[in-house]
């Protein structure tokens, strides 16, 4: 469905060098710190920026050459942009009717009511949560085969985030062949939604793993200096010096649980994954 082969994009102060492949029916998460390259990756996939080298493709077509028919099969939600904030819901509905042959007007209207999006107010007067819900709804209402969402839940409270995640879950339940690529730095959103996670750091994918594997097998070993000196380093991905000794990130939690029953081992979620692998663990 999505393929990035050795895609390189260079800016004056940043270089992205990335490869990834997302098959049909997969929900993939793209995580990383701010400025790691998540948005640039999404723009490359959508053909909004051209790679300096390598190949970005969607549905087997080069991203920069996506046809209008293929674009009709993609729903996009970008973090900081959407339809003009001078328009209201009725305006946007009329535009989408003419833009997408597959636009489901009844679904759009029903969802607007459920999400309490006012029809007569212009988007500029919406709250942050309302704007985010509208962006997600706009991406979903034409029954796209592929959803690409850049930080759809950023800056939202728990209730609004849950509403958006529920919308995405329902969307997937309707058709199992639908594919989603979602970028976020809110780990709990991705842990409950994604099949696999790509971790991006300084423009490179430094880890790609199934979410279940991360949650089951990854962990943080908290060891003192003496324990660290004798610790088997075979499955230690990263270690950080801490005030108590060392925090060691492993992808074989059970191996260490069995071999070193005295060592404190904490669960390794996506937050820990980001922090340990990108050097920000405290």
């Amino acid at each position: 469905m999505i393929s990035l082969k050795n895609v390189v994009k260079t800016y004056s102060d940043f270089q992205l060098n990335i490869s990834m492949a997302i098959p049909k029916g997969r929900i993939s998460g793209l995580v990383g710190k701010n400025g790691a390259g998540k948005s640039t990756t999404i723009k490359l996939i959508l053909g909004l920026v051209k790679p300096d080298s390598g190949e970005a493709s969607v549905f087997g077509t080069q991203s920069c050459k996506l046809t209008i028919k293929e674009k009709e099969q993609i729903g996009v939600c970008l973090a900081d942009t959407g339809f003009s904030n001078q328009l209201n819901i009725l305006d946007i509905e009329s535009i989408l009717v003419k833009m997408y042959p597959g636009f489901d007007k009844a679904y759009f209207q029903r969802k607007c009511e459920e999400l309490k999006l006012p029809k007569d107010k212009i988007v500029k007067e919406f709250s942050t949560g309302m704007k985010a819900k509208l962006r997600v709804l706009v991406a979903m209402t034409h029954k796209a085969k592929l959803l690409i969402m850049d930080e759809p839940t950023a800056g939202l409270d728990v209730e609004a985030r849950n509403e958006i995640l529920d919308m995405l879950r329902n969307y997937l339940e309707e058709d199992e062949e639908r594919t989603i690529l979602i970028s976020s730095h809110i780990s709990s959103d991705l842990e409950n939604l994604c099949d696999d996670i790509y971790l991006i750091h300084d423009g490179k994918i430094i880890l790609h793993e199934d979410t279940d594997v991360i949650l089951d097998q990854y962990g943080i070993l908290k060891v003192n200096e003496a324990q660290y000196a004798t610790l088997d380093q075979t499955y230690i991905l990263k270690s950080h010096k801490e005030h108590y000794g060392y925090a060691c990130f492993t992808n074989e939690k059970k191996y260490y649980q069995e071999k070193y029953p005295d060592i404190v081992i904490e669960k390794g979620g996506i937050d820990e994954l980001i922090l340990m692998m990108t050097g920000g663990y405290r």
């Binding site: 328009l87 305006d91 833009m99």
Partner: protein
């Protein structure tokens, strides 16, 4: 393209107050000012109004989102030219109606055939202005394009001044007299061809500008 038209028309309708003000001003000017001022003024406002939809697209990274919709850069550019042409033409028609209404109130004997060349002569000038303004607006955005236009007009003024100094006022006058003596049809056809060529070049430049935009 229908979706883009819908978007732009709805954005224009958001400025109902401006539209009503423009029309009221046009009616007042049409009936109080003698001459052809209204024929240039109103279509120019119409053109500016439609071109201003580009700046709506530009705000809040709007281009980035628009290009994720099922359109491509060529469709976007085509829609802008068609919208601008339609806006200019509709306001030109309105200006012509006001022009005649005002004339009928003032004069009794009006020969419409004599008026047609004057009225039509505004169209190529307006289209030329459109051909210059759209690519500049697309390339430089709402704010910078004003400065660029000022620079262009400044350079044109300086070149005209230098041209007059080099060639001499007498020669220019004789050239104008020669042009006046040319057949009206020749002038009309030449102007039409020139404007069509300018519009094609403008469209190609606009497409290139949009294709090279990093979103």
């Amino acid at each position: 393209m229908a979706g883009l038209f819908e978007k732009d028309i709805r954005l224009l309708l958001r400025r109902k107050q401006t539209l009503v003000l423009f029309l009221a001003l046009a009616v007042v000017i049409g009936f109080t000012q003698e001459g052809t001022f209204i024929l240039g003024y109103l279509p120019f406002l119409g053109m500016m109004l439609t071109i201003s939809t580009i700046s709506y697209d530009e705000i809040d990274n709007g281009y980035t989102f628009l290009m994720t919709l099922p359109i491509d850069t060529k469709t976007y550019v085509k829609e802008k030219y068609l919208l601008c042409l339609s806006g200019t033409f509709i306001s030109w028609i309105f200006a012509v109606v006001l022009y005649f209404a005002s004339k009928f109130l003032r004069e009794t004997n009006i020969v419409i055939a004599n008026e047609v060349p004057i009225i039509v002569s505004f169209l190529p000038v307006l289209l030329l202005a459109m051909a210059i303004m759209i690519p500049i607006q697309l390339k430089f955005g709402a704010e910078k394009s004003r400065i660029v236009l000022l620079i262009i007009f400044g350079i044109t003024a300086i070149l005209s001044f230098l041209f007059e100094k080099v060639i001499g006022a007498e020669r220019i006058n004789s050239m104008i007299i020669k042009l006046d003596n040319l057949n009206g049809t020749v002038i009309g056809v030449s102007a039409t061809l020139f404007v069509i060529l300018a519009a094609i070049i403008s469209y190609v430049i606009s497409c290139k500008v949009m294709q090279n935009k990093e979103l």
